[in-house]
């Protein structure tokens, strides 16, 4: 009898989704990521101030959308995996990667398997783990000096944005059937500057900008029309805030405040733009 009078609210049994709007845009010297802050479970808003921009490393962030639990878990796993790139880290049982040898970028050549084996034999290569586990950075530098100058070692201090995006993509693809989350990975690295990668369902693609989430459908036309290459940092931040505002104005599952993260060679800067500070557009 009491169940009919007070039925259990639907949102207790609905999956928590970040019906959302996320956007990442490159500019001349870095990237800007933006997201709204609404988390919905069916029709109810269960969190109106969630920050969906999650750090994977100092200068690499990812934007979450889709199922909240799935997206957060992927981001945490990749954050954990990228900790290998910090000096003096712990040994991980599950992460195992050979040092990848690259020829100098000018040569445009991929090193063959035999050469790798040979270098292994003469003692130039070790597992990435053993590198970090046994030796600290001074030894690493000495090894780099001994290795012939036309070979370079991939494990640097800071991970490439491409590596972070690949780790996210690997998880998304492997567990494609079980997970339903879409992460946009963006950041700055020394090699290629600011980059944005979209990793939808296991696809990996580098783009000048990317949008995602339910609110992104409404701003497709706007970002297509307004994006320009090589914007300044200021213009890019304004572009991101405008796009988020327009999407939040039309999508029922996006709203709240806008979180904006700007990443360039000096680091990452987080900012929150409150509802009443958002730009206003034509409204009847």
């Amino acid at each position: 009898m009491s169940e009919e009078l007070f039925p259990e609210p639907e949102w207790l049994s609905e999956e928590v989704k970040t019906g959302t709007t996320i956007i990442a845009v490159t500019f001349d010297g870095g990237v800007v990521l933006g997201s709204d802050s609404r988390v919905s479970a069916g029709e109810a808003v269960v969190n109106r101030v969630m920050n969906k921009l999650s750090p994977l490393h100092d200068k690499i962030y990812c934007a979450l959308s889709g199922s909240a639990a799935d997206a957060q878990t992927i981001a945490e796993i990749v954050n954990y995996q990228l900790d290998v790139h910090r000096p003096r880290t712990q040994y991980h049982r599950t992460f195992n990667k050979d040092v990848i040898l690259l020829t100098s970028p000018d040569d445009n050549v991929v090193v063959k398997q035999k050469k790798k084996q040979h270098l292994h034999e003469i003692g130039h290569i070790l597992n990435a783990f053993e590198f970090d586990k046994a030796w600290d950075r001074t030894v690493l530098r000495k090894i780099k000096e001994k290795v012939p100058h036309d070979l370079s070692i991939e494990v640097e201090d800071d991970p490439l944005v491409c590596s972070a995006a690949t780790l996210v993509k690997n998880i998304s693809y492997k567990y494609k059937e079980e997970l339903s989350a879409h992460l946009i990975v963006a950041g700055w690295d020394k090699k290629k500057g600011g980059q944005v990668y979209a990793t939808l369902s296991g696809l990996l693609t580098s783009q000048p900008f990317a949008i995602g989430g339910s609110g992104s459908f409404y701003i497709n036309g706007f970002v297509d029309a307004e994006y320009r290459k090589n914007m300044t940092k200021r213009e890019c931040q304004e572009f991101v805030v405008n796009a988020l505002t327009l999407a939040m104005g039309r999508d029922g599952s996006s709203g709240g405040v806008a979180y904006v993260v700007t990443i360039d060679k000096d680091g990452a800067e987080e900012k929150c733009v409150l509802g009443n500070e958002l730009p206003k557009f034509f409204d009847q």
């Binding site: 000048p208 339910s214 497709n220 036309g221 706007f222 029309a225 039309r250």
Partner: protein, 217 residues
């Protein structure tokens, strides 16, 4: 990511489409793409005209099931011409929209089409009315509709200004339709625009290769 059903679930020929109407200083522009599709993957016509003239200065454009839309507009055209003969003066845009609304509301179970009615009359000048699927009638300064319209909500929200000039309004409509056609796979072909003012009705066609290009093209 949620699966996003942006096409109407109709059998037969449906105009998965993008339509819009914009009021400017002195008139209205009503515009659409030109693709008719069956399901999501077959384009049954590349050059269909979705802008239907129901009276001298009143046009209608349709989104949804093409068959339903043609039946409704045919009936509305007939009723409107009868009405204008009785009144002995050109009909009001609102009258045309009301006729569509009556037909949509009374047959709401069977029909699956939405309409935008736009035109000029002596009483209120340029007007735009939108009749949605269930039969709601609403007057607006600009409106977009059809499956491709979801992609340009942000763009039109940002770019619309009241009282634009004719050139600005044509540019606005062409850009909006081009952007929607660029993202929606059931909208495409050429852009049809009709400019309605007190003096005349002008039909402008912008073929595919003359459409504005954006950053990735």
């Amino acid at each position: 990511m949620d699966s996003h059903h942006s096409y109407s679930q109709v059998k037969g020929v449906s105009t998965g489409t993008t339509i819009l109407a914009v009021k400017f200083n002195g008139g209205v522009i009503i515009g659409s793409d030109s693709r008719a599709s069956m399901g999501e993957s077959y384009v049954s016509s590349k050059t269909i005209n979705k802008l239907i003239q129901v009276h001298d200065r009143i046009f209608c454009c349709i989104a949804g099931s093409l068959a339903d839309a043609q039946a409704v507009t045919k009936m509305a055209k007939f009723q409107l011409s009868f009405h204008s003969i009785q009144m002995e003066s050109p009909p009001l845009v609102k009258a045309a929209a009301s006729i569509m609304r009556e037909l949509c509301y009374n047959n709401k179970e069977e029909l699956q089409a939405g309409f935008i009615t736009a035109g000029w009359d002596r009483k209120k000048g340029p007007q735009i009315y939108v009749v949605s699927l269930g039969g709601m009638l609403l007057s607006q300064p600009f409106t977009i509709g059809g499956s491709g319209s979801t992609y340009i909500y942000g763009y039109v929200d940002a770019k619309f200004k009241p009282d634009m000039s004719l050139e600005e309004a044509i540019q606005f409509s062409t850009n909006a339709l081009a952007l929607a056609m660029g993202r929606d796979n059931v909208s495409g072909g050429v852009v049809h625009l009709v400019v309605i003012t007190e003096a005349e009705v002008k039909h402008v066609v912008v073929p595919g290769n003359k459409l504005p290009k954006f950053h990735d093209e």
